[in-house]
């Protein structure tokens, strides 16, 4: 029983935690480069220098006594996001969508006072959300506006796209959708939905919540089978380019689609998790092997994206059949109407 399931996972090319730590993270990511991605301010600077779009930085706070200036910094903006610079996994992020009469409104509609925001900022500064409890800084960014394509695919949070980039080649991608169960966050183990995305076309392949397959968003009931990520080529190229700016060989690139500014890099991760395999219903191992077999890494991200699209296209799309059915149903419906 045990051995057969090990064999089955192996045959699917599923990579386990030990294999990831040993064969990918410690092999391709030199420790000294971690600060580039663990510090979101540095990541942002690097990305900007490379001409990659990132959310606009509205302000930063570094010391506890800066907290007093918070009101002045926030004053000009109606909407903003407060983030810990060294946070991980979406921890400590506070989103404000409206400011009126000294009250700040969260996406859920809850109003909070300035003191609440000040305490949140102070907590971040004293290291509540950083790795190992080290003192942290706070960054305030412009709010991202959800792209209409995803309008009914997310509950409260902005969907983000996680692309795994190995030696500059995007090898797997998934869309993370916040749900009511995940409390508006995009963490899969908290109940967010992970949607595997075809590297070739940007179409949804397969979706899971808590590891089990789902066919529509649990809160909005919107089916996934006609979900296609727009700007797909540009998005992959952006992700691929992150290899050059960080030097990290095994990278998780988190991208959001903004209504006005298109794809933006919001975070890079030197230790991306493995749930992406469950969302895609595919193992990473064969794709890792294909990239490792390359003699030379092409310096042009666009060429690398072409390689990935050709080699890592989904063999079969579990949703495509549903898509055809739904199209034919619509057609027949419109026929009967006419």
């Amino acid at each position: 029983m045990l051995l057969t399931s090990i064999k089955r996972l192996k045959s699917m090319g599923i990579i386990g935690m030990n294999q990831r730590n040993f064969g990918l993270v410690s092999r391709y990511n030199p420790r000294r480069l971690y600060p580039l991605v663990d510090d979101k301010l540095k990541t942002k600077q690097l990305a900007q220098q490379a001409g990659i779009t990132v959310p606009k930085l509205l302000g930063t706070l570094h010391y506890q006594h800066d907290v007093k200036q918070l009101k002045n910094i926030l004053n000009p903006y109606q909407e903003f996001v407060i983030k810990p610079v060294k946070g991980s996994g979406g921890k400590g992020i506070l989103v404000i969508t409206e400011q009126a009469h000294n009250l700040y409104y969260k996406p859920s509609g809850d109003a909070v006072r300035l003191t609440h925001i000040e305490r949140h900022v102070s907590n971040i500064l004293s290291g509540l959300h950083s790795l190992g409890g080290k003192p942290d800084s706070v960054m305030i960014e412009s709010l991202i506006h959800i792209d209409p394509v995803f309008a009914n695919y997310s509950y409260e949070g902005v969907p983000d796209l996680r692309v795994i980039v190995l030696k500059g080649y995007p090898i797997m991608a998934m869309l993370r959708l916040a749900t009511h169960a995940s409390d508006g966050r995009a963490n899969l183990h908290q109940g967010a939905v992970g949607v595997g995305i075809d590297i070739d076309t940007g179409e949804a392949l397969h979706a899971v919540q808590y590891g089990d397959p789902v066919y529509h968003h649990p809160d909005t009931r919107k089916p996934f089978h006609d979900l296609t990520v727009p700007h797909w080529n540009k998005l992959l190229t952006l992700a691929a380019a992150c290899y050059e700016i960080t030097g990290l060989g095994y990278l998780g690139v988190d991208i959001v689609l903004d209504r006005d500014h298109g794809p933006m890099i919001i975070e890079l991760n030197a230790r991306p998790g493995l749930s992406i395999q469950v969302a895609n219903f595919a193992g990473l191992a064969p794709r890792v092997a294909a990239v490792e077999a390359l003699i030379q890494v092409d310096p042009d991200p666009r060429v690398r994206v072409e390689f990935s699209k050709k080699n890592f296209a989904a063999v079969r799309n579990l949703f495509r059949s549903r898509r055809k059915i739904s199209q034919s149903v619509q057609r027949s419906l419109s026929l009967t109407v006419s």
């Binding site: 045990l2 399931s5 090990i6 089955r8 996972l9 045959s11 699917m12 599923i14 386990g16 935690m17 030990n18 294999q19 040993f22 064969g23 506890q64 921890k91 400590g92 305490r119 102070s122 004293s126 290291g127 509540l128 959300h129 409890g133 908290q190 899971v208 590891g211 089990d212 397959p213 395999q277 469950v278 219903f281």
Partner: protein, 515 residues
């Protein structure tokens, strides 16, 4: 790949050094591998009585030879007013007591504590036999001897069988005329020994008498028993002269090889020696440590045993830590259990050792539970991190003090052991779990808390195992073996046990898809 080869060879080296040291200590120094290994220590007292006649007295007693498979713990030559010296000559040890004048009944004692060790013994050079001397016998006796020898020779193929046959024939229950003449039933033990030696000499077989003591607990006034030893050209073979059985019997201490006298007394008469025997049981490990220290074996002399007892006890604990670390490595890498703080489980396990299992777990749950409740209030006070943790430390100490006092009033003395929990670690655990609660919810706290406790309990069970405790303390070399194991586990890239569950849906539907 080269780095990997280097690592594996280092691992092998470390592993074999560790195993080698353990084997050395076990085989060469006799360290037992099990804590309950016991040895019988025989204390033998030889008492020499004689009547002194007012002249200078010299007493000379043969002492047992120091054979490699015997460990002599103690030799004592207590006799009042006598000077003592030990003489060694011709592979024989003799003790010599002396006094200028003595009169009346005199007594001298020789006391020996000895046990049989388990060391592997290299072949010892054996003492070469002297060529047999033809005995001088009268005609009748010689004829009877020759007839007997002829009979025996006809039934034997070599010296060993010959000797056995000879002894059995001489001891036969229905002796014929010849045998009766030779063996002279009225004569004593020594007569029989000499007879056998004479007959063997006539046959041209080198032989000698061996005197020894059957070790039996509580025996007094014992005397030595004669055995016959022959040399078959390669080695000495011991024979019981009453049964013809060869080999050394169990619990038989050889006191003297060869025909020299056992006891000589100059200046005294009516001398006699008698033996009393006492058996004691000792832990093998203590015996070995003592004897190795006496011999200054470097590996023992420069070891934990040379420390004062108090430090030794501290090390007993410290040497258990690597076992805990190994458990954590296995639980995290092979099983994939999440714990809060990598090595927190070991510290909990250490505390559990002091408090016993159930009491410890109950106390731990009470302290952490109460701490979490108070911490949730602290988080509303809007404190800086360091101040908050310091506050939690004070809270933990208060909780621990309250538990001690309340349980003392209630008469629950076990709960007083609460002070063995590392308080700063508990405070950190509470802090981390409380942050985890806020960020990831109570489910994650439960998973990590249960994981930590499970790992701690498994580590505790290993660390309190008597055999494990014994082995880690007496064979610190085990740490090298442990290190090698951990290095190998660090290379494991297969699935964790929990991942089989994490990815289980994939495996299942994959199988369905194939149909």
């Amino acid at each position: 790949m080269q780095a990997q080869a280097r690592l594996y060879s280092a691992v092998l080296l470390i592993f074999f050094i560790g195993i080698g040291l353990i084997l050395y200590k076990h085989l060469a120094l006799g360290f037992p591998l099990m804590p309950d290994d016991k040895k019988f220590v025989w204390t033998i007292e030889a008492k020499i009585d004689f009547q002194a006649q007012g002249d200078p007295v010299i007493i000379s007693l043969a002492l047992p030879p120091k054979e490699p498979n015997l460990t002599f713990m103690e030799e004592d030559f207590a006799s009042s007013d006598y000077g003592f010296s030990e003489l060694t000559s011709n592979n024989e040890r003799r003790g010599q007591w002396s006094k200028r004048t003595a009169k009346g009944a005199q007594t001298a004692y020789y006391r020996l504590s000895v046990y049989e060790n388990d060391k592997l013994v290299e072949d010892q050079p054996i003492d070469e036999p002297e060529p047999p001397k033809k005995p001088e016998l009268d005609e009748v006796f010689l004829t009877a001897s020759m007839t007997l020898l002829e009979q025996v020779r006809a039934r034997s193929a070599n010296a060993e069988i010959f000797t056995r046959e000879l002894i059995q024939t001489l001891n036969s229950k229905s002796p014929n005329q010849n045998q009766r003449l030779l063996r002279n039933d009225k004569a004593g033990e020594d007569y029989k020994t000499n007879l056998i030696l004479d007959l063997l000499a006539l046959e041209g077989i080198s032989a000698r008498v061996v005197r020894g003591l059957f070790l039996e607990d509580g025996r007094r006034r014992q005397s030595l028993t004669n055995f016959v030893e022959i040399h078959d050209g390669n080695q000495w073979i011991l024979f019981n002269q009453d049964t013809g059985k060869s080999g050394k019997p169990k619990n038989f201490l050889i006191w003297q090889h060869g025909g020299q006298s056992l006891l000589d007394v100059v200046g005294g008469k009516n001398s006699q020696v008698s033996f009393s025997i006492i058996k004691n049981t000792h832990s093998t490990r203590n015996l070995v440590v003592n004897s190795s220290q006496n011999k200054q074996a470097a590996i023992i002399d420069f070891s934990i045993y040379s420390l004062p007892i108090e430090q030794q006890n501290a090390f007993k604990m410290i040497l258990l830590l690597p076992i805990g670390a190994l458990v954590v490595v296995i639980m995290r890498i092979l099983v994939g259990i999440r714990t809060s703080g990598t090595f927190m489980p070991i510290l909990i396990a250490l505390a559990l050792i002091q408090t016993t299992l159930v009491t410890g777990i109950v106390i731990f749950l009470i302290v952490v539970g109460t701490g979490l409740m108070i911490r949730s209030y602290l988080s509303r006070l809007n404190l800086l991190l360091v101040a908050r943790i310091s506050a939690v430390i004070i809270v933990v100490i208060t909780i621990i003090a309250s538990i001690s006092i309340i349980s003392n009033k209630l008469g629950l003395s076990q709960a007083l052991t609460v002070t063995f929990f590392p308080m700063v670690i508990l405070a950190w655990t509470i802090e981390r779990m409380s942050v985890l609660w806020e960020e990831d919810g109570p489910r994650e706290v439960l998973i990590q808390g249960a994981g930590s406790l499970l790992t701690a309990i498994i580590a505790y069970l290993f660390m309190t195992n008597r055999t494990v405790e014994y082995l880690t303390f007496n064979f610190p070399e085990l740490m090298l073996v442990n290190l090698a194991l951990i290095l190998i586990l660090g290379q494991y890239t297969g699935y964790r046990l929990t991942e089989l569950y994490r990815f289980h849906t994939m495996g299942k539907r994959h199988a369905v898809d194939k149909h």
